[in-house]
């Protein structure tokens, strides 16, 4: 069985930036969540290279800037991109993937699922558009976690998916 890791990124005290934490929380206790290691963090650090290297597939869940709010993007990334020129103590998903590759020779499949946010003020709640996008994010995660995932349609990769109907009650 393939080993999967899902990492939610963001600050759960800053509105839509907490999307990753919300998704991880929703996955806990579900069949999909049981098939993966779940992790929520404020930022990506080099220590994540270890868990990434032990996984066959890594999915990052993050909020993104831009409009329209609630739009979802699925992007696959590779760990062979050049790293940042200067390092403090946080990294982006591609850099952590590269670091896992450099340290452990690991090359898991890495994907980022991001949702365009609307509100990043002091709040533990997601905005309406982002909240309504969560079920679709969960559905995509489940698809990615399937034992033998179907290849994603090329038009889903690296492009913003159609914004969900803002009035949908999900």
């Amino acid at each position: 069985m393939r080993r999967s890791l899902i990492i939610g990124i963001g600050n759960p005290l800053r509105g839509d930036d907490g999307l990753g934490w919300h998704v991880i929380e929703r996955l806990r206790g579900t069949a999909a969540g049981a098939r993966a290691d779940l992790l929520a963090c404020h930022q990506l650090t080099p220590e994540l290279a270890g868990p990434m290297a032990r996984s066959d597939r890594v999915i990052f869940i993050d909020a993104a800037e831009g409009e329209p709010a609630g739009e979802i993007r699925l992007e696959r990334i590779r760990g062979d991109k050049p790293g940042p020129s200067a390092f403090s103590h946080h990294l982006d998903p591609a850099a952590v993937a590269e670091y896992a590759s450099a340290l452990y020779g690991a090359s898991p499949e890495v994907a980022i699922l991001s949702v365009k946010g609307a509100a990043y003020g002091f709040s533990e709640d997601l905005s309406g558009p982002v909240l309504r996008a969560v079920p679709e994010v969960l559905r995509l995660v489940q698809g990615l976690l399937a034992a033998d995932p179907q290849p994603l349609p090329t038009d889903m990769e690296g492009t913003w998916l159609t914004a969900l109907n803002p009035s949908s009650p999900f």
Binding site: P46, E47, A86, A95, Y99, L103
Partner: protein
């Protein structure tokens, strides 16, 4: 025409700062300033909060060393409650603080300074980072990741989370340790010991190649301050203060930390938000001292664990008396990681560590409390006053990095005078100036209560204040 060099932002530090180098008419460095350019002001905004909230609030000062703030704050609250906390609670707090030392020192050594130490101060800045280290020496990089992870996992095992754990509370800790979690930590100790020993062995072989840096990186006489145990042994959680001079003579010993205000003064400068603490009896000019790993190893009688004491003996062969070059903070940091792992094993090996008696409960019995502990970067003071309702009316924090402020400024001046001359300034020269600061591993988020990473700017300014040149780098 006099000139000024500005380094802004300073890279690979915790926080945000800039450096200005003032040149005289001949192009020689005349003065140097390390500016902390942000302010967070935790002392002020905690006024009016309930005192028992303070440990959790204060842990938010820093994402790197929240545990140290938790512990110093909880100790100040213990003093307000006027309780003596259960021995198990004190030992569990101690284990968590040691884990903090391990993970913070690992971050400093492996992530922030190893690029300079392994790849060279003059190496290509595009490669002089974590990735360059992984490429050149993946084993060293893996050991760094492993040690930091080890420290973080202990914190998470005890406190439920790696950053800002809320488990340390006034009167003790919130929950006892389970046998399962203890065993998990103990099981990881042999590998952690191997990792730090390998790194120490590598660093000791390498150190000779840094003669020039050793000679010029904040290498000067100063006093050294830290907590020690009753017999002068290394102490990070409790104990009393010891202050020793550059010859190793004890200026103060077994000084009750509750009396810190009698001995430590603070002054401000208009060009930085970080205060300058000093030893009052010696006056501002002569009362400067260093804290942190180097200071601790310079003042103690022994570490108190076998392997660390062997390493300490070797470390002391570097000089006669206290080791004065701040370059050796790196070396001291590795020895302290070793000591912290050994002591963690010792503390967790005591059956009493699983006792359920981990918290003393009381109402406030005093209006004032002082808590002191050794943070990774040095001695940390939390001092609170409360009103009849238990609300904070006044708070004062003296942060480890602040103690080193005078030394860091003097260190930059020393290094800049050696490496920088006129307008022919190379990136490698400026990196050395930054590297002096990195030896201290300042946590500017703590000391100024500034948020964020640590980019840096170096600025060259004329005597008349005109900016001549500026090098800016993002973090």
């Amino acid at each position: 025409m006099a000139r000024q060099i500005l380094i802004d932002p300073v890279t690979r530090l915790e926080g945000h700062a800039k450096i200005t180098l003032h040149l005289d008419d001949q192009g020689d460095v005349e003065a140097a300033h390390f500016h902390i350019t942000q302010l967070r002001g935790f002392e002020k905004f905690c006024e009016g909060r309930r005192f028992f909230e303070m440990p959790y609030l204060m842990s938010r000062i820093c994402g790197i060393c929240p545990v140290s703030h938790l512990i110093a704050s909880a100790k100040a609250c213990d003093a307000i409650l006027a309780v003596s906390i259960p021995e198990t609670a004190a030992n569990l707090r101690r284990v968590m603080n040691l884990a903090q030392v391990i993970q913070s020192h690992a971050l400093s050594f492996f992530y922030l300074s190893a690029p300079d130490l392994l790849l060279g101060m003059e190496s290509d800045p595009a490669r002089r980072n974590l990735f360059g280290v992984a490429e050149a020496h993946p084993g060293l990089a893996r050991d760094g990741v492993g040690l930091r992870q080890f420290g973080q996992q202990i914190i998470e095992s005890l406190g439920g989370r790696r950053i800002h754990p809320g488990w340390v509370v006034p009167g003790g800790v919130a929950e006892p340790l389970t046998a399962e979690r203890r065993d998990r930590i103990l099981g990881a100790i042999p590998e952690a010991l191997n990792r730090v020993q390998r790194t120490l062995d590598w660093f000791k072989r390498t150190i000779e190649s840094f003669r020039e840096e050793i000679r010029t990186f904040a290498n000067f006489p100063s006093m050294f301050l830290g907590l020690v145990g009753p017999e002068g042994e290394l102490e990070t959680y409790d104990g009393n203060l010891r202050l020793a001079d550059e010859g190793g003579n004890l200026v103060q010993d077994q000084l009750d930390p509750q009396r810190y205000a009698e001995f430590i003064g603070e002054v401000s400068e208009p060009w930085t938000y970080m205060k300058f603490p000093y030893y009052k009896p010696a006056g501002r000019e002569h009362g400067f001292y260093r804290v942190g790993p180097l200071a601790r190893l310079n003042i103690i009688s022994r570490c108190g664990t076998n392997r660390a004491d062997q390493e300490l003996a070797e470390f002391r062969e570097l000089g006669r008396g206290p080791i004065l070059s701040s370059f050796h903070y790196h070396y001291a940091r590795l020895i302290e990681i070793l000591h912290s792992i050994e002591l963690t094993e010792e503390l967790l090996g005591d059956a009493g560590i699983l006792s359920k008696d981990v918290r003393a409960v009381a109402e406030p019995n005093r209006r004032e409390g002082i808590g002191v502990a050794e943070a990774p970067r040095g001695t940390l003071f939390h001092h609170y006053k409360i009103d009849d309702e238990g609300l904070i009316t006044w708070a004062n924090l003296i942060i480890a990095t602040g103690h080193n402020n005078m030394a860091m400024n003097r260190g930059i001046l020393q290094a800049a005078r050696h490496y920088v001359s006129g307008e022919q300034v190379s990136e490698g020269m400026l990196n050395r100036v930054e590297a002096v600061i990195r030896t201290f591993d300042p946590c500017l988020s703590c000391s100024t209560h500034a948020v964020g990473q640590m980019p840096m700017v170096i600025q060259l300014v004329a005597r008349d204040g005109r900016l001549v040149r500026e090098l800016r780098r993002d973090g």
